[in-house]
Symmetry: C2
Subunit: 232 residues, 2 copies
DNA sequence: TAGATTGTTAATCGATTAACAATC
DNA sequence: TAGATTGTTAATCGATTAACAATC
């Protein structure tokens, strides 16, 4: 067993980057790369190489000094650490445009996730086929979760019902939730929630965009000032 | 002008939370709340109150000791700080299920964003109407960006073309990009990129899910051990 | 005034990074 | 051996949090 530099577990910031490394590694593997240096992999993942090496060191010593990392071996180790060597059954609740997009997104299946159930409150949608799966009515939610052993729930409903859906998922035994509804979900401590919120991301961009404009305007002013003062 | 506790600008972590506060404040305003304490607002936003007060203190001193914050006034101040008192024209590139969902998402318009142009490479989609807008061909991209003064580009294309689209957006003058494609985009320093990646979020959940299982299994073992040893 | 709540301080914690000894 | 590159150290930086003086 390799020595592990973990006082208690892997830092959250590192966990959040492992999937990015894994994607870069998968691309390298497809391109037939046998080994990769921390410098190359870091560039592909958009981080600096010191951070990459530190992150990987939390998993163990999987590189070879003077050589680099074996791509296939590292793919396996990162996958294992992330829990992707087993399949996680997923339910999607809410099949509007977004839920539809999620159900059809191929990236899940290839990465250890299996969408096993679709649920929607709209009678028009119930019993329709989406991405090869039948849409179930909301009443069936708890039963589906229990029967299929679903651990991860994806909420793609309108905001007003998200908390109710969340409560039902949790009481049925789901302990990880990916929330696309623009609300802060209240859950027990042992339940993990991740939020995807495009509106928030846009607002963060707006902040930086505004700051750039302000800086540019400041530049204009100082240029005008310089002109007014004249050449020195 | 209020005193500002900013060595240089507002911390990124704070900026990322301001939209969450804004949403909670908007809900409070709709419910007719006149003032709100840091404790109440923090609960609504899912953070602790010390963090909330610290965050708000970067914007200025907008509260009243012993009373709390005026909801409407704080909505305005946070909006202004985020640059939402002006409208940001947005282009969406790629109108598959996801782009479609984004184009139809009402949350944008209400928050200072205006989707002004839709672009797709698929001739089948070009000239169709989505969310009341005509879909333009890819060739029109640069012209649209320039004519409409678009500052923010949303990339909802397949991964293989995302970097090319990004390059074209940037060279046409876009300086903020919201990327839904599962790739790390390379951009000049002055361009801001935010990434939304459901696959990555799911993988982070899988990690925690696996850890919970491991912990539970460990609990079983120690319980079995305790039984084997017998009551003390 | 008494009670409530902000804004700020300072301690703590966690993340990043450069540098380099270890070692292939 | 010489060159390359990892894994780790230690310094630095940024974020979080409890506590409380300021003040409504």
């Amino acid at each position: 067993m390799p020595a592990r530099a973990q006082g208690r577990g892997i830092p959250e910031a590192t966990v959040a980057r492992l999937p990015v490394y894994l994607r870069a590694l998968s691309t390298l593997a497809e391109d037939g790369a046998g080994t990769v240096s921390s410098e190359e992999l870091a560039t592909a993942a958009g981080v600096n190489s010191a951070k990459l090496r530190k992150d990987l060191s939390y998993l163990g010593s999987y590189g070879t000094r003077g050589v680099g990392y074996d791509v296939d071996y590292l793919v396996y180790q990162v996958s294992r650490e992330l829990g992707l060597t087993q399949d996680w059954p997923v339910v999607i609740v809410g099949l509007g445009h977004l839920g539809h997009a999620l159900a059809n997104y191929g990236g899940f299946a290839s990465r250890g996730f299996a969408i096993r159930a679709l649920v929607d409150a709209d009678p028009e949608l119930v019993d329709q086929q989406i991405a090869g799966l039948r849409v179930h009515p909301l009443e069936a939610l708890e039963d589906l979760v229990r029967r299929l052993g679903i651990a991860i729930g994806v909420i793609a409903t309108p905001a007003p019902v998200a908390q109710t859906i969340c409560d039902r998922l949790v009481s049925a035994g789901v302990s990880s939730i990916l929330n696309f509804a623009p609300v802060v979900l209240a859950v027990p401590d042992e339940v993990e929630v991740r939020k995807v919120d495009m509106s928030i991301e846009l607002q963060i961009l707006a902040f930086h965009e505004q700051r750039k404009l302000a800086t540019a305007a400041l530049g204009d002013v100082s240029r005008e000032l310089a002109e007014a003062v004249g050449p020195r």
